[in-house]
Amino acid sequence: MNDYTLIFPEIFMACAAMILLIAGVYIKNIKQKIEKVVLLVFIVAIGILIFISDDSGQLFNRAFIHDSLSAHLKIVLLVSAIFLLILCHNFYKDDKQIGYEFDILVIFAVLGMMIMLSANSFISVYLGLELQSLSLYTLVAMNRHSSLSAESGLKYFVLGALSSGFLLFGISLIYGTTGSVVFEDVALLMNPQDMSNITGFGIVFVIVGIAFKISAAPFHMWTPDVYQGASTPITALLSTLPKLSAVIMLLRIVHDSMPEFSYIWLNILMILSIASMVLGAFAALGQTNIKRLLAYSSIGHIGYILIGIVASATQPELGMEAVLIYMIIYVVTSIGSFAVVLCMCLPDGMTEKIEDLAGYSQTHPVMAGVFAILLFSLAGIPPLAGFFGKYFIFLSAMKAELYALAIIGVLSSVVSAYYYLRIIKIMYFDSYKQKLLVPARENYYVGALAALLVVSFFIYPWLLKDFVGMSLRSFFNI
């Protein structure tokens, strides 16, 4: 007997998206109205989620799982999506090329992520991932004025399709050896004693496919180009929500479907983690484009998150707690940073050059302060929130005795501090040549809110810790 209330938020969002799509065909000038309706859809979905967040259960032959982990993170996802949508709407306000489809694509992308968060079998993993990816490919390529946007859309699509291919190939190998796609069955049926190489290949392909999606080095090649080519609010979306959902999905896959095989995925993830941290630190040093720089910085942060996943192999509770805390702090900080990047507007249009921030602290002291706080947080300087993310990650690494990872993490965080400091130096120490325009109110508020959260985090750090602890409770009771 299926209890469909557990999947009601997803059903609601899918229906809403389709109804809006049809409505858009018949009603003229719907763009302005739809923007508000979409926000309402998200808020209602959050309400439903809060209402059912205490329930748990599995649906559709255990392909879909609803537990506190998925419920809590869906709430985080939807709240972040609302703020991102506010940024998007402000950005596309005067753009006639962008129609009402934009919002509907965002709903579908978020829906895909919600399914990823609830995935309990490889089929739902693939379905969620593809729904999300297909919507995002379109969103990236949507800016028809710019050839960069089209190029990055194509690049994202080709590499995304490749990675989906990897993932699917891995899934089919696992299905071939075990005869099941449901995580728990796979875990039971994969026998480490008489394991053929095929299962090992399957695991490797699955991990690599997901590594593409979270842009862990060396599968990161698309990230800087796509981040640069997409319009800035889409970049903000790309660098936060898909990573959040893919990381949680990865956690579920490795812990629920292949717990006995940690000796395989552990080593892969460890290499990915080291490569990402080092690449994120060094490749960003020479960047002059703020979006490319943030792209490399996000690769570095994925490296730290992977430390937590590696640590979770032997220290499940500490490791997963660290991953969730780091991820949520990263999402908040990134959204704030992109809100500031969206304010980088010269009289003749948007700019992405870091030098154009020169003297920002004199022309716009509040926005410069906000950006400085967020950058110091990304660099992990206490007492800002980013420090606590790193603290929990390193704590789990030390507990799991991953000393080499922790030391590489420490060293690369010193290197990466340099490029964050460089942006702050440009904003605060240099004097301005061109004044940037006054920021839009929406960007201003989103940025300031993020900075406020980041600064005041040290006063109540246990709030997030307890929230994460509650989310993980269900995960360890199964």
């Binding site: 110091f376 007492p383 603290y391 420490v410 010193v414 246990w462």
Partner: protein, 511 residues
């Protein structure tokens, strides 16, 4: 209700932050002179109130009690990591130094800082909060928070209001310190995982295994040695000092450098006694090199600030000598020297600030004959220079003497070598004084410089009085830290302590 039941330490720590909040909310126009003055006056008042509070805290502090006092404990990250505060004699000493120097810094920036006053005052208040926090917290993670958090305001202060090479200096300062501290963070995590708490009081009684002590000691050493700074990781200091604005240099030399020494005394010695003993010779040799090398380098500097910066490195060498001689005299001497150096180096940087404001150069050869047209300035500069050399009768003497006394019982040959450093220090200090105050003025602009005004006298007189006062009556300071020093040495083997006899001279000084 007695003061001990009040949360006086959190109030002391976060009062400047409240001031920051207030200043943030007040709109500010950079062209309005009245607004600028108001900002400066408000900040000055905040720092004065904080200073007054810390004095009250000092007066109610029970010097006959070796325990931590004014304990405050509140829920925080987890059951093992809580928001704990409390002070012993050593902390009180440094809190007084911090809160006392802050009003002087604000006064010193009164006319020399003209741009972006609002940010300047806000950053200094944030820095004050963090510095008081470092000295009053009783939780290892909070210590790290305060310790590292200080990088942000200091980076901005050097970078925004600094000299020509400010960008290089600020980034070097930041990255150097960050690298050292992150190893301390890893060590803190190991300690937390091992003991399940970051409560400093508990940890000071915890017996770490010998191997572990050594690793942890080295990790803490990486952080404190950079902060001190010890040779050979001192190279950020001359750059940072030269480029920082006057008040920034004062805080850097007066308080931030002391965090390294404070860290050794608060963590390395009590928590890892075996490792401290094991590595003591290593540290002392590094320190002796620092004393000789830095004094020699200071002698050839033409930039006055750089000269004082190198002299700071040398003095910090004496501090580590005193601490790692692991004797009562040595540690007391190190503490006294840190306090005295906080006053003296701050005073010297303020002296440089005075002539820099007038002539906008720090080249030692650009001055001369200031004793003629600036007699009062020449007088205070002389007292401070002599205190820097360690002339008996000034506070500089007592600390260096006690530190050397400690080293003498540790190793007489090393004590002899480092005593040469004192002679060298007389060399560079006298050269500085001769070039600046004596001789003939190099040009008319030097001759036309006006003597120190009332505001500047107001800055110098308390420092002058204290330096002389503590030179004659060192027991004000020594008695404050007496019991804490004894507690630190309790952790060491008794056999080690018996090796060194008690010096009668020390007893006489401390009476």
């Amino acid at each position: 209700m007695s003061l001990h039941e009040w949360p006086i330490l959190p109030i002391l720590t976060f009062l400047p932050l409240l001031g920051v909040l207030f200043l943030l909310l007040v709109p500010f126009d950079d062209t309005d002179e009245q607004a600028k003055t108001n900002f400066k006056t408000t900040t000055l008042w905040i720092t004065v109130v904080v200073f007054a509070l810390s004095i009250i805290m000092y007066l109610h502090f029970d010097q006959t009690n070796a325990e931590y006092q004014y304990i405050y404990d509140a829920q925080w990250l987890s059951s093992g990591i809580r928001f704990r505060m409390g002070v012993d004699g050593i902390s009180v000493l440094f809190i007084l130094l911090t809160t006392g120097l802050m009003p002087l810094c604000i006064l010193a920036s009164w006319s020399s800082v003209t741009k972006r006053i609002k940010e300047y005052m806000i950053l200094f208040l944030i820095l004050e909060s963090l510095m008081i926090g470092v000295f009053s917290t009783l939780d290892l993670l909070w210590f790290y928070l305060f310790f590292e958090g200080g990088l942000i305001p200091m980076y901005l202060i050097i970078g925004i209001w600094g000299g020509e090479r400010r960008v290089y200096a600020s980034i070097k300062f930041f990255l150097y310190t960050l690298l050292g501290s992150l190893f301390m963070l890893l060590a803190i995590l190991v300690i937390y995982l091992e003991t399940g708490t970051t409560n400093i009081i508990t940890l000071q009684e915890y017996d770490f295994a010998e191997d572990m002590q050594k690793y942890l000691w080295l990790a803490f050493f990486a952080s404190f040695a950079v902060k001190m700074p010890m040779w050979p990781v001192h190279t950020w200091l001359p750059d940072a000092h030269v480029e920082a604005p006057t008040a920034g240099s004062v805080i850097l030399a007066g308080v931030l450098l002391k965090m390294g020494g404070y860290g050794f005394l608060r963590f390395s010695l009590p928590m890892f006694p075996i490792a401290s003993e094991y590595f003591s010779l290593f540290v002392i040799i590094l320190s002796v090199i620092a004393v000789i090398y830095a004094s020699a380098v200071a002698y050839v500097q033409d930039d006055i600030k750089k000269l004082i910066a190198y002299s700071s490195v040398a003095h910090m060498g004496f501090v580590t000598i005193g601490i790692f001689s692991l004797t009562h005299e040595g540690i007391q001497g190190a503490l006294f020297l840190m306090f005295s150096h906080g006053l003296v180096s701050a005073a010297l940087f303020l002296c440089v600030g005075v002539i820099y404001d007038r002539l906008h150069t720090r080249d030692i050869n650009a001055f001369g004959g200031l004793a003629n047209n600036m007699p009062r300035y020449a007088f205070v500069l002389m007292i401070f220079t002599m205190a820097n050399v360690g002339l008996p009768g000034t506070s500089g003497f007592v600390g260096e003497f006690l530190a050397l006394l400690g080293l003498f019982s540790y190793n007489a040959v090393l004590a002899f070598i480092s005593a040469i450093g004192i002679i060298l220090s007389a060399g560079y200090a006298l050269r500085l004084y001769r070039c600046v105050a004596f001789g003939t003025p190099v040009n008319d602009r030097v001759k036309a410089m006006s003597d120190i005004n009332t505001r500047e006298s107001l800055i110098f007189s308390p420092l002058l009085i204290l330096i002389i006062l503590f030179g004659f009556f060192p027991y004000f300071v020594l008695s404050l830290t007496e019991l804490s020093t004894e507690t630190i040495l309790l952790g060491f083997d008794e056999s080690l302590l018996e090796k060194f006899g008690n010096f009668d001279v020390y007893k006489w000084l401390a009476k």
